[in-house]
Symmetry: C2
Subunit: 461 residues, 2 copies
C-alpha cells in the first residue's frame, strides 16, 4: 500500500493496516469512501472490505461507481462474498454477476440465499438498456384489503431489505394485478384504520414493461416526476421496480453514448484512461475508415471535374471554405433534430414541417454566408491583395451562389437524417456530425462545379 494517496485528506495512511482504514471509511459518505478505494490496488481494497462491518461493506459494494466490484467479490472468501451479495440490492447483484465469468458464477450461486437466487435468475434474463435490466425485485407491495396501519407496520418490518419504500404498490388479492401506487408521504398522513385503497388520487399508475427502452423509462420519470416506476408483465402483475437513482445513471450513460456517437465513434463502456490502447483504436478506426471510404467519393467527383480544375485553378481556392460551410450548417440542423426527436417535441410524421422550415432557413443562412464570401473576394481584388483574374466578379458570383445552394442542402440533409434513421429503426442520435459533413461534402462539390459550369462557361470554363 505504498502508493496510497487520499486526495481529500480524511485518511492519510502510508502503511496503515486495513482495519484502521476500514474504520475511518465508516465515518464517510459511502460514495466518498468508494472514490478513495478506487485509488488503491485491488488487493488492498479486498483487505479493507473484508475488515469492514458487513452492513458498511454492503453500502460500499452497492455503489455502481466502485471499480472492479466483480473482481473484488471473487477475491473475497466465498462465505463472506455470499453474505454480502445476499444483503446487497438485487439489481446491483445482477450487475456484478454480469461482470463475473461463468466459473465464478457457478461457484458463488449455490451459496446464495433462496431469495437472491430467485431474483438473479429473473434479472439476468433482461438485455441491457431495458427496464428489466435496471429494475430490482425489492419493492413493497400489499393486498388491496389491507388498512393504512397494517401497511405501515409491514413497511417498518421490511424497510431494511427494500430498495425504496416511498412508493407502495397495491395489488388485487385475487389475481395479483397492480391496482394503485401509493406514496409513503400520503400514507403516513392518512387515517390508520382507513383502507389502503382510499389513500391518494384514484388514477391508473404509470407502468413500464420489462423490455421498455431505458430512454423511454427516463422520459416517464421526467414527465411524471417519479421516484420509482413499477415494471409489469402482460398480466399487469408487478415483477420489479426501477428507482430514480438508476434512471439518473442510465441518463448519464445515454448522454455519454450519444455524445460519442455524434462525435463519430463507437460508445465506450469504460472511462477514458481505463480503455486499453488497442480497444480505443478499434472503437475509433471503424467509423473513421467508413467515413474515409465515403469521402473518397470527393476524389472521384474532383477527378470528374478535372478539366474544369485545370482551366480554372482559382476555383480550387474556395473548395475547403464552401464544403465546410455545408458541413457546419448540416451539423447544426442534425443536433437540433436529434434533441427535438429525443424530447418528443417532434414525431416522425412532422418531417415535412421541419423540411418546410429548414428550406427557407437554409436559404437565408446561405445567402448570409454567400454575401460575406462575395464581399471577401471583391475586397481582396479591389485592394490588390490577390488577383482572381479578369473574371473575378464571375468567380465571386459562383462562390456566392454555390454557398446558397450548399448551405440549403446542408440544412435540409442534416435535418432529415435523424428522421430517416428513426424511420428505418435506428436511434436518431446515431447521426454524427462527421457523417453529415461527409454526406454534404460530396454533394457540395457537385453543386459547386455545376454552378461554376453555368456561370463561367464561355469565360473561364
Amino acid at each position: 500500500m505504498n502508493d496510497l494517496r487520499f486526495t481529500q485528506g480524511v485518511v492519510d495512511a502510508g502503511s496503515a493496516p486495513a482495519a484502521t482504514i476500514a474504520e475511518q471509511l465508516a465515518t464517510m459518505q459511502a460514495a466518498d469512501a468508494v472514490e478513495l478505494l478506487n485509488e488503491l490496488e485491488q488487493n488492498d481494497t479486498v483487505g479493507i472490505i473484508a475488515e469492514m462491518p458487513r452492513d458498511h461493506a454492503v453500502l460500499i459494494l452497492d455503489q455502481p461507481e466502485l471499480h472492479s466490484a466483480g473482481a473484488i467479490i471473487e477475491a473475497l472468501p466465498d462465505v463472506i462474498a455470499c453474505e454480502l451479495l445476499d444483503a446487497m440490492s438485487a439489481d446491483r447483484v445482477t450487475d456484478i454477476f454480469h461482470e463475473l465469468d461463468a466459473e465464478a458464477r457457478d461457484r458463488l450461486f449455490p451459496g446464495l440465499g433462496h431469495e437472491t437466487q430467485q431474483a438473479l435468475a429473473k434479472l439476468l434474463r433482461y438485455p441491457p438498456h431495458t427496464a428489466g435490466s435496471l429494475m430490482t425485485t425489492e419493492f413493497v407491495s400489499v393486498p388491496a384489503n389491507w388498512s393504512v396501519a397494517r401497511t405501515l407496520q409491514h413497511i417498518r418490518e421490511v424497510e431494511r431489505s427494500r430498495e425504496t419504500v416511498y412508493a407502495i404498490y397495491v395489488i388485487d388479492p385475487e389475481n395479483r394485478s397492480l391496482l394503485r401506487a401509493v406514496a409513503l408521504r400520503r400514507l403516513i398522513a392518512s387515517e390508520p384504520e382507513a383502507s389502503i385503497m382510499t389513500v391518494g388520487r384514484d388514477v391508473a399508475p404509470v407502468t413500464v414493461g420489462p423490455l421498455t427502452d431505458q430512454e423511454d423509462v427516463a422520459r416517464l420519470f421526467r414527465k411524471h416526476d417519479l421516484l420509482a416506476v413499477p415494471v409489469v408483465n402482460d398480466g399487469n402483475q408487478i415483477i420489479g421496480i426501477v428507482t430514480v437513482d438508476d434512471v439518473i445513471d442510465a441518463m448519464t450513460q445515454e448522454m455519454t453514448e450519444d455524445t460519442l456517437k455524434f462525435g463519430g465513434m463507437e460508445a465506450l463502456n469504460k472511462p477514458y484512461m481505463q480503455i486499453g490502447f488497442l480497444q480505443m483504436i478499434r472503437k475509433r478506426a471503424g467509423w473513421l475508415g467508413v467515413l474515409f471510404l465515403s469521402e473518397m467519393l470527393t476524389a472521384s467527383a474532383m477527378q470528374h471535374f478535372e478539366g474544369e480544375l485545370e482551366k480554372a485553378v482559382v476555383l480550387t481556392l474556395f473548395i475547403p471554405l464552401i464544403m465546410s460551410s455545408g458541413g457546419n450548417s448540416g451539423s447544426q440542423a442534425t443536433s437540433l433534430l436529434i434533441r427535438a426527436l429525443a424530447l418528443q417535441e417532434l414525431r416522425l410524421k412532422d418531417w415535412w414541417r421541419v423540411a418546410l422550415r429548414e428550406l427557407p432557413t437554409g436559404i437565408v443562412l446561405g445567402t448570409f454566408l454567400g454575401l460575406i464570401g462575395v464581399i471577401r473576394i471583391s475586397t481582396w481584388q479591389m485592394l490588390g491583395l490577390y488577383d482572381y483574374g479578369v473574371h473575378w466578379h464571375l468567380v465571386a458570383a459562383t462562390v456566392g451562389t454555390a454557398l446558397v445552394g450548399i448551405v440549403t442542402f446542408g440544412s435540409l440533409a442534416g435535418s432529415m437524417l435523424p428522421f430517416i434513421l428513426q424511420k428505418i429503426g435506428f436511434d436518431p442520435a446515431s447521426a454524427s456530425a462527421p457523417f453529415v459533413a461527409t454526406l454534404v461534402d460530396v454533394t457540395g462539390l457537385i453543386i459547386y462545379f455545376s454552378i461554376a459550369l453555368m456561370i463561367l462557361s464561355g469565360t473561364l470554363l
Copy 2:
C-alpha cells in the same frame, strides 16, 4: 374550441364545455392532462383551469411541461391566480414569475400570501443554472431535540405543503445550523421515543451552496443517489432544497444545450417548432458566420500555395478527403474528452496523460487511413481507372504521409481543446465539432502542402 383533438382518446369533445373537460382531466395523470392542454388554444386552457377544483389546477400548473403557464396565470382572474400560486410549489412559482413581465408581477405580488411572498423574494435572486434557481423553500426541518414521534407528527401536519418529506433536516436549535439529514424510511422504522439524532448513519450530510452550478448538483445526486439535497448558506443554515425531479429536468436541459453547442450553434430555450423564424436564424447565423470567417484562412492558405496548385492540379483532388479525415479524428477526440471531463474521470492536470495517449493513437489511426489512401491511388492507377501521372507513386506517398500527420494533429488538437476551454474558464462542452474541423482544416492544408513540397520538389513541384 374547434380544433380540439385529444390524441389519447380519453377526452373527445368537439365543443364540450370547459367544465366537462375539466372533470375528465381530473381522472388522468397530471402530466397527461398537461399534454392535452398544450394542444388547445390558450383561451380554452384558461377556461378549463378556472373550472377545475383548485387542488387539481395546482397539480396541472406545477408541471414544468405546461406551455405558457405565465400567460395562463395572467389571464386568470387575479384572485384565482393568487390562490393557485399560493398553493403551488415555491420553485415553480419562481419559474412562472420569471416568465411574467414587470407589470403582471407588480399586480399579482401584493395578492399573494406572506409565505409565498417571502419565498419569491428569496428565490428570484438566484441566477439560472444554479442550485438557488432550482431550489424550493418547502422542506421539512426539525430541531435536534425532538423525538422520532414528534417529528412524524410534524410531518403529518405539514405534508401537504412540502415538496418532499422523504428527507428531514435536523438543525441545531441554537444557531439553526444543519446537523443531519434523516430519511423518512429510517424514521418510520425507528422507536417513537428515540431522539431524532439517533436515526440513521452519523455522517455529515451532503450539501450545496445556492450558487453551485446545476451540473455539479446533478453530479452529487448521481454520486450519492440522493432524492433531495439541502442548499445551505455560509453559516451552514439550510435555505432550501433541490429535489431529484428538478435535477432530472436540469440534466435534460444541459444535455440539449450541450448537443446543440457540440453541433455548432447557440442553445435554444424553446422547442424547435415554437422558435420564431428570425430567432432561429440568429441562433445559427452567429456561429456559422464565425466559422466561415475562420475557414476563410483556408482560402488564404490555398492562395499561398497557388504556384504549387498550378503545377500539380493532381494535388487538389485529395484536399477534401485529407481535410475531412483530420476533422473527423478531431471530432472523435473532442467528444471523448468532453464526456471524460464532464464525468470527472479526468481533471485539468491530466492533460499531458491524454496528450501522451492521443499522440500514438493518432499515429496509428493516421497510418491506417494513409494505407487505405495509398492502396486506393495505386489501385486506380494500375487498373487504369485514372492517371495520376508518371510520378503517381510520389503522389500516393504524399497523400499517405499527409494523412498520418493530419490525423495525428486532429486527434491531438481535438483532445486538447476541451482542456484549453476548461482552463480559460469555459465549459469544456462548448467545444463543437465544426469548430474542431475548422481548426484542423487550416492546419491540415499547411501540413499537406508542406509534405508535398518535401516529397515532390524536383519532380512535380
